[in-house]
């Protein structure tokens, strides 16, 4: 981490919040959210009325509990809610009756195998009442008459939840959710909100973060359903990753609960970080789900959310009992969890796919193999035609040639030097399968127009962004406009890994194909088993380490390139004589190289200039060659 962050108060917050009797609605939730709001004043507390329909659920009545006890015939309170709020079944309806022991037993809950634990029981949706006691105490109950009193109220009110949005440079969000709905329990309740609160404080302290951060504090299940019902479209559009934070307070184990398919970026990051720092972690699948990932990763929602836990709900003996207390949760456990979540978020910030705003990215050995792999992944082959601009590096054409498809070159736009849209339209035939626009020298091609054409003709668009890392159209980065984007990390590129490449895509199937074909088409589940022809286009970890470090500095690098361009522009631009790189409205050119066109110059004069510059020790190059001028290269 660039800025190590610690939060020594998490344990104290948990202690303060412990006695509050929370349920999915009611004053316990409000009090808890109020406490957290004092720690992060920008937290917004919201409410939704009882009875409101959220998807196919209904917001339940609000539950208030004032008192609850069982007294024996002598009037002694043998069980008292004021001693431990787990004693009363959550959402119990009011009752005031006298019962014999047999009748009472019908309403008691205990755990024979854990005789000293008070279980935690709820009954939100079927009206009932009950008490939870230790098995030890239950065994001592005598035949007697018992007065049972539950002074509760179930009435139309509200369900409360809270969120905090910390705006970043991009609308793309990292989503962090935790729940606040269990009474006095440590690991499976308070560890989540206190670690989330610490993370929120960390995110607030960031100076101009790249991503927007959304923190959500909700009652479990119904809360995430409510939240999704109100924000689903926004979340589906903008959330690039995140975590459901629960059970993060003890020191005994580590776990990862993946999303439904277990392959989104948060799953990958969680798995990578745990493998690196806690290799004995337990990997659970979505089948082991039990918290809000049920909603966030449900079919049709599919937010890229994963969950890193310590001892996971349902997997440790104190779970959902009074024993889940401060013997389980420790400041050290909380600190370690915070640290791991910060490491994960750090990777989001440094990840190339998220940088480009795409769901997936696959490294390759270089930009040429990235293009070839992308074309093969889309099934481009003999008989197909692929349209490329006439002005680009030969790799764009060669990659098409490798597949056996026919290369169709079209002219460029005289200003942007990128593929000319009208020429593309003229070149489409019934055999055209794909277009490869090249973001030449760092200026994005006209992707919006190209996508329109591609849509109308059912064509694949692969952006050749080898020279344009970080270039944008309307604040959206290249690499995410087409069906795939390819990048180069060659030594002279915006970012380098020596040699290196990357394919970005939002298409999960293509992502899987890319990874598979890159590694000799080896079956992911069966080593040395090959159903088709693949390649060795792998990037080494050695290269990737360099790339990760370079990506951290990309803003700095792009700022510097812009500055260099501006220096040239100030000194050289002359409407009559010298034209420099173009920048269309709404487009962000990254000025990979600065190019000048001198009016009235012919090739002889140009070459004289190049030689003169060379004599002064300054390197310059002619533009790339037009394919039309290279015999035999096209066809």
């Amino acid at each position: 981490m660039n800025n190590p962050f610690e939060e020594p108060n998490m344990y104290k917050w948990a202690e303060d919040l412990f006695p509050i009797c929370r349920s999915i609605t009611g004053p316990g939730v409000r009090e808890t959210l109020g406490y957290i709001q004092k720690l992060i004043p920008d937290l917004k507390i919201h409410s939704i009325k009882s009875g409101e329909t959220v998807f196919d659920w209904q917001v339940p009545l609000e539950w208030t509990i004032k008192d609850a006890y069982i007294a024996d015939s002598s009037g002694e309170k043998i069980i008292d809610f004021r001693v431990n709020n787990l004693h009363v079944v959550s959402y119990s309806e009011p009752v005031d009756r006298t019962l014999n022991l047999d009748e009472l037993q019908q309403h008691l809950h205990s755990i024979p195998s854990q005789p000293n634990a008070i279980p935690y029981i709820t009954s939100y949706y079927s009206l009932s009442w009950g008490f939870c006691i230790t098995e030890d105490q239950r065994q001592t109950l005598k035949n007697d008459s018992y007065r049972v009193v539950i002074d509760s109220e179930l009435k139309s009110g509200v369900l409360n939840y809270a969120d905090l949005v910390i705006k970043g440079q991009t609308k793309k969000e990292v989503f962090l959710s935790t729940y606040i709905c269990h009474p006095s329990m440590g690991n499976n309740e308070l560890s989540g909100p206190v670690v989330a609160t610490a993370l929120a404080k960390w995110a607030q302290a960031l100076n101009n973060p790249y991503y927007t951060y959304r923190f959500v504090f909700i009652p479990e299940t119904i809360g995430s359903i409510v939240y999704l019902s109100q924000h689903i479209e926004h979340l589906k559009k903008n959330v690039i990753g995140g975590f459901n934070i629960t059970c993060v307070g003890d020191e005994r184990s580590w776990g990862l609960v993946t999303s439904r398919y277990g392959n989104n970026i948060s799953d990958q990051i969680g798995e990578y970080i745990l493998k690196t720092y806690h290799p004995n972690f337990i990997k659970y699948s979505w089948l082991d789900r039990g918290s809000d990932e049920r909603q966030y990763c449900a079919p049709g929602v599919d937010l890229p959310i994963s969950s890193i836990t310590r001892s996971k709900y349902g997997e440790y003996p104190e779970y959902h009992t009074s024993l889940d207390n401060f013997d389980v949760v420790t400041q050290k456990g909380l600190n370690e969890s915070l640290e791991i979540y910060l490491k994960c978020i750090d990777i989001f910030e440094k990840n190339f796919a998220t940088y480009c705003g795409t769901k997936y990215a696959v490294t390759t050995s270089n930009g040429t193999t990235a293009l070839h792999l992308a074309l093969v992944s889309f099934g481009i082959g003999p008989g197909d035609e692929v349209i490329i601009p006439d002005l680009t590096f030969i790799a764009t054409a060669n990659a098409v040639k490798y597949t056996g498809a026919k290369i169709v070159t079209v002219d460029i736009d005289k200003d942007t030097l990128c593929i000319n849209i009208d020429e593309v339209k003229k070149s489409i035939t019934k055999n055209t399968k794909a277009i490869i626009p090249v973001h030449l020298y760092g200026h994005p091609a006209a992707m919006i127009e190209l996508n329109e054409i591609a849509k109308n003709h059912d064509l694949i668009v692969i952006e050749d962004a080898a020279e344009a890392h970080g270039a944008e159209i309307n604040s959206i980065k290249v690499g995410g406009f087409g069906h795939a984007g390819t990048f180069s990390f060659y030594g002279n590129k915006v970012l380098t890994t020596g040699e290196g490449g990357m394919v970005t895509t939002n298409d999960k199937n293509i992502y899987e194909r890319l990874k598979y074909l890159r590694d000799h088409a080896m079956d992911p589940d069966k080593r040395y088993w090959h159903k088709e022809l693949g390649f060795n286009y792998r990037m080494t970890n050695l290269q990737a380490a360099l790339g990760v470090a370079q990506l951290e500095r990309i803003d700095e690098i792009l700022d510097k390139k812009k500055k260099i361009f501006q220096w040239y522009e100030e000194q050289l631009y002359n409407e009559e004589k010298i034209k420099l790189n173009f920048q269309s409205d709404g487009y962000k050119n990254v000025f990979w190289v600065v190019c000048i066109e001198i009016k009235g110059f012919d090739e002889e004069k140009r070459d004289t200039l190049i030689m003169a510059l060379k004599d002064s020790g300054i390197d310059s190059r002619p533009f790339l060659r037009l394919f039309a001028l290279i015999n035999g290269a096209v066809g």
Binding site: N366, N398, E499, H520, Y528, H530, E532, T540, E604
Partner: protein, 387 residues
Amino acid sequence: MKIKYGKQDVTAEDIAAVVDVLKSDLLTQGPVVPEFEKVVCEFTGAKNAIAVNSATSALHVACMALDLGPGDCLWTCPNTFVATSNCAVYCGASVDFVDMDPNSYNISIEQLKNKLVIAEKNNSLPKILAPVHLSGQSCEMQEIKNLSEQYGFKIIEDASHAIGGTYQELPVGNCKYSDITVFSFHPVKIITTGEGGMALTNNAVLANKMRQHRSHGVTSNPEEMSERPDNEIWNYQQVCLGYNYRMTDIAASLGLSQIKRLTEIVRKRNEIADKYNQELAALPLQTPWQHPDTVSSYHLYIIRLDLDSIQKTQPQIHDELIDLGILVNLHYIPVYRQPFYEQMGFKAGYCPESESYHRDALSIPMYPTLTIEEQDRVIATLKKVII
């Protein structure tokens, strides 16, 4: 702790060499790749070396340099990684397989002879033969070379496992009996560059073609370019369809540093093999036989299980060893049994020796940093599982 079947050995000196390149002006296409190539030439005695980003790429540029294309056929041994045959498919050529020798696990000279006689009659001789030096032991190259002269095919030695080994007391890679030799520098191999490979040849024309194919089919040598107007700059020309298979200077610096220890590494691997040979001798398995003409670099130590006396299946033994932390592996499934090759019409039973090998072979841990204690544990565990 788990013991892997192989792993790299990277020293502080190796890391320092890599860092030096990262601090230099050129990360790729700089001076270190040619230097690495030169050192490998010196080590092997080959005249030319072309470093590339993987052995798969090396095999591919080798096939392209030998003009392998549609209508041609490459023969290899089925007991290899798929890359040996895939490189021919990349070129549009077909592939055929010659069964292995039951002793050396390399290509059987007898089978090769028989197949060549038939192929000559059917007019289906191969354009290229790619013998594979499995586990680091050279094939019988002199015999293969004699056959190539008789039948007119070219030879690519797939020595991915075998840098540091010798044949007739000369280093593998010297190309005395072949047109091209290919090395791999994947981390599991004898020395590593991360990913990496190399093609060696004594033929300057082939070397030049491979250099072009390694870098987009581009040349900067004016003599190789077609004529262009004098008043235009042609600082490079694409003269054929090439790929980007370049090795970086970063990767080459690692290889250059590692190769200094190559002799020592191969010696260490042979020591480990000697200990296995002795201590496994009495077990119901076959230790690797060595041809008297060869010294193996021992990339792999392959045992063949006597399943009849062990009374367990090979997968059972494999799984039990893995459960006990000995991460054994199997090299290889006969290539033609891969679904991709079965689609071409190859059927089970085609190369019976290779299939029988596939049913009873295992690669057990072999790498230079394997300690005596670890090796003792491997041997003890193996005994426990198979006796």
